[in-house]
């Protein structure tokens, strides 16, 4: 059976060649449909220049006019090992909102740096967000090596700078690879232009990423809804982590009441004895009347209560004023809340603390806050269980911030 696709995000400054790299990856893995190749060939620059691979990503009118990608485009390609879903993150400040959405689903990242430009302000911001989102697998790609004649000295210099820089963000790259997306050097194969480089090609590095299967972890089953079938209540939802076995004793939070799993129901399957993380199932239980928002667990290590400490990223242009009402959404929970304490707020690009004990949070800032709820919530620290540690804050039905529980 085919392995699950690995979602990755490609992060970097807009001019550093991201779209070109994506087009190149598609072409080198043989994943471009013939008619798209024709389209690109005809849209490309002549006079000895290579094809403009970036055209494959340029679909929206706005983009073409402004020459930049403005939204996430999900594109698929595959190597011999597995399929990849590229979540193409843009490189401009005003699109950070969209970028966070993309990163939120990625399990690994390629950080793109232009050899002649080096690390820019935007790159720093992205690094912080990658760390913030818990993306640990990051490979750094140093692009446009063709413009410096594949110079080893230039690469070595920037390699050092990158390493020093990433340490600040607690990101340890799996590899730092010199490539040229335009000529394809080191992307799918080594063309011999950089014989001094002993590391893997970009594709080899991708194939080296690990897919995270949270198999034997603590059980977290947030109830999504309850349906009535044949006089019985079936609680449906997705097992975020852990496994559920028929007959198992679990605890319902908030409230800590015990209940027993009588049956696991999946349409079309008769006798389900066990289900694993990622599966959407129905449960018939004894001892509890379940409803959406509750979480079935098999341990007591979660955070349950009416306050939580979190780190949030404010997306809205208008600033947040402490005390204003918000809605918190984590898994299937939706609870009215407010931020009653802003411990610190800082500029993610520079890591400078802008203010402590603040009254407000401005656009694109990170803040460490305390959230107070009108009813108890269930969560885990993001670093322990991702799925129960990341949330969205809404105001009037619009997402205004993304955050993680610390």
């Amino acid at each position: 059976m085919e392995e699950r696709a690995l979602p990755i995000v490609i992060v970097g400054h807009v001019d550093h060649g991201k779209s070109t790299l994506i087009g190149r990856l598609f072409y080198d893995t043989g994943c471009l449909p013939h008619d798209k190749v024709e389209e690109i060939r005809k849209r490309s620059a002549e006079l000895g220049k290579e094809m403009e691979w970036a055209f494959i990503m340029d679909h929206l009118e706005e983009e073409r006019r402004r020459g930049i990608t403005i939204d996430i485009a999900h594109t698929f390609f595959k190597t011999a090992k597995r399929k990849y879903v590229i979540i193409d993150a843009p490189g401009h400040k005003e699109f950070l909102k969209n970028m966070m959405t993309g990163s939120s689903q990625a399990e690994a990242a390629l950080l793109l740096v232009d050899i002649s430009e080096g690390i820019r302000e935007q790159t720093k911001r992205h690094c912080y967000i990658l760390g913030f989102m818990g993306i640990r697998q990051v490979t750094v790609i140093v692009n446009k090596m063709d413009t410096c004649d594949y110079s080893r000295a230039a690469f070595t210099a920037i390699e050092e700078e990158i390493k020093r820089f990433l340490i600040q963000y607690e990101v340890e790259p799996t590899h730092i690879i010199p490539i040229s997306a335009r000529t394809g050097e080191n992307v799918a194969k080594k063309g011999g232009k950089m014989p001094w480089f002993q590391g893997p090609t970009l594709l080899e590095a991708l194939d080296g990423f690990i897919t995270d299967e949270s198999a034997d972890r603590r059980l977290r089953f947030p109830v999504q809804d309850v349906y009535q079938r044949n006089g019985e209540n079936i609680a449906v939802g997705k097992i975020e982590t852990g496994t559920i076995t028929r007959g198992q004793q679990v605890t319902v939070f908030p409230g800590a009441s015990p209940c027993k799993i009588s049956r696991i129901v999946k349409y079309g399957e008769d006798d389900v004895t066990v289900s694993h993380s990622g599966e959407c199932i129905g449960l018939i239980v004894e001892g509890a009347e379940l409803r959406r928002g509750q979480v079935l667990m098999n341990d007591t290590h979660a955070i349950v209560g009416d306050t939580i400490t979190a780190r949030i990223f404010w997306l809205l242009n208008d600033p947040y004023i402490a005390g204003s009402p918000l809605t918190w959404k984590l898994a299937t929970q939706s609870v009215a809340c407010t931020i009653d304490k802003i411990f610190r707020r800082f500029d993610p690009a520079t890591l400078q603390i802008v203010e402590t004990d603040a009254e407000r949070i401005n656009n694109s800032e990170i803040a460490e806050v305390r959230i107070r709820f009108e009813a108890p919530v269930v969560a885990d620290k993001f670093s322990e269980i991702h799925e129960m540690g990341r949330f969205v804050l809404e105001a009037e039905g619009h997402p205004v911030a993304g955050g993680i529980v610390v």
Binding site: M1, E2, E3, R4, A5, L32, P33, H34, D35, K36, H59, L60, E62, I70, D71, I72, A73, H74, T75, F76, K83, V85, K97, N98, M100, T101, S104, Q105, E213, Q224, D225, Y227, R229, I234, V236, K238, V265, K266, Y267, G268, H276, G278, E279, C280, G282, R292, L315, K329, A331, R390, F391, V392, E396, G397, H398, P399, G402
Partner: protein, 267 residues
């Protein structure tokens, strides 16, 4: 978890979420392979009893086999089927050959849907579009708001973080839910094979041709293919690289060109 199961679970989650969020929702069933797969997923999500209606937008020009298939399975699966038609436009004789292609689609499809949404007060529609179908669709969100004029403000899309989908906000006229966004054409066929999902045999080769996508008989052209069943189609897809909608004649530019030529006395 294998790839198909991971896709299946994600879709079921989205479908159940949509049902929870919207009081009044319906699923668009075009009788094609994608929406029939989505229908299959809905049956799984709701344990065989889909709690909302299925809408078939009928332009009057669909392949006869599609109508047969629709009626057979609506009955077999106990579906609450609503057939939507823009009766005025059909009576007025709007068809693809005497009117520009875009106009025909607008009148017979888009406006028929608009009528249904208004008649039933629908807050959300579930559709089976996929990201790999065509460029602009690659930018769609799972939950996508449409305003009164059916325009999708693609520059200002709401953030979609971590399975938290934007489902409220008063200025939106209706929401579109896309549970199949992360599926590719090949995924759909492999899933059809795995689950033995019934589909109309227009997809299978006859006389060296089969339909890669089906819609109105006036606008769909078959492609050259000898694939006579699902396995052969999967094999064919794995070894060829043509974009799916190559057969569909919804080419705005050709329509524009034809209109221009006509105005100058050609055609």
């Amino acid at each position: 978890m294998d790839h198909l199961s991971s896709l299946e679970n994600k879709s079921i989650y989205i479908i159940r979420e949509a049902y929870y969020r919207f009081k009044n929702i319906a699923m668009l069933w075009s009788i094609g392979k994608d929406s029939t797969t989505m229908l299959w997923l809905c049956r799984k999500a709701f344990f065989g009893e889909i709690p909302f209606p299925l809408i078939h937008i009928d332009t009057g020009f669909k392949f006869p086999k599609m109508y047969e298939f629709r009626d057979e399975y609506a009955k077999k699966w106990g579906l609450n089927l609503i057939v939507g038609r823009n009766e005025e436009a059909i009576k007025a004789g709007i068809r693809c050959d005497n009117v520009q292609k875009l106009l025909c689609c607008t009148e017979l499809k888009t406006n028929a849907l608009r009528q249904i949404i208004a008649t039933y007060g629908l807050e959300g529609i579930i559709l089976g579009i996929r990201r790999d179908e065509h460029g602009i669709r690659a930018k769609e969100r799972v939950f996508s708001p449409r305003d009164d004029n059916f325009k999708w403000n693609y520059e200002d899309q709401p953030a979609e973080l971590w399975d938290q989908y934007k489902t409220t906000a008063s200025e939106d006229n209706h929401f579109r839910v896309h549970p199949l966004l992360h599926w590719t054409e090949l995924d759909i066929w492999k899933y059809i094979k795995r689950e033995k999902i019934p589909i109309t045999d227009l997809y299978f080769s006859k006389n060296g041709k089969r339909y890669r996508s089906i819609g109105c008989i006036t606008c769909c052209s078959p492609i050259d293919s000898s694939a006579r069943n699902v396995d052969e189609i999967i094999h064919e897809l794995e070894t060829t690289h043509t974009s799916e909608r190559a057969g569909r004649a919804q080419d705005k530019e050709d329509a524009y060109t034809m209109q221009k030529l006509r105005s100058l006395g050609y055609m």
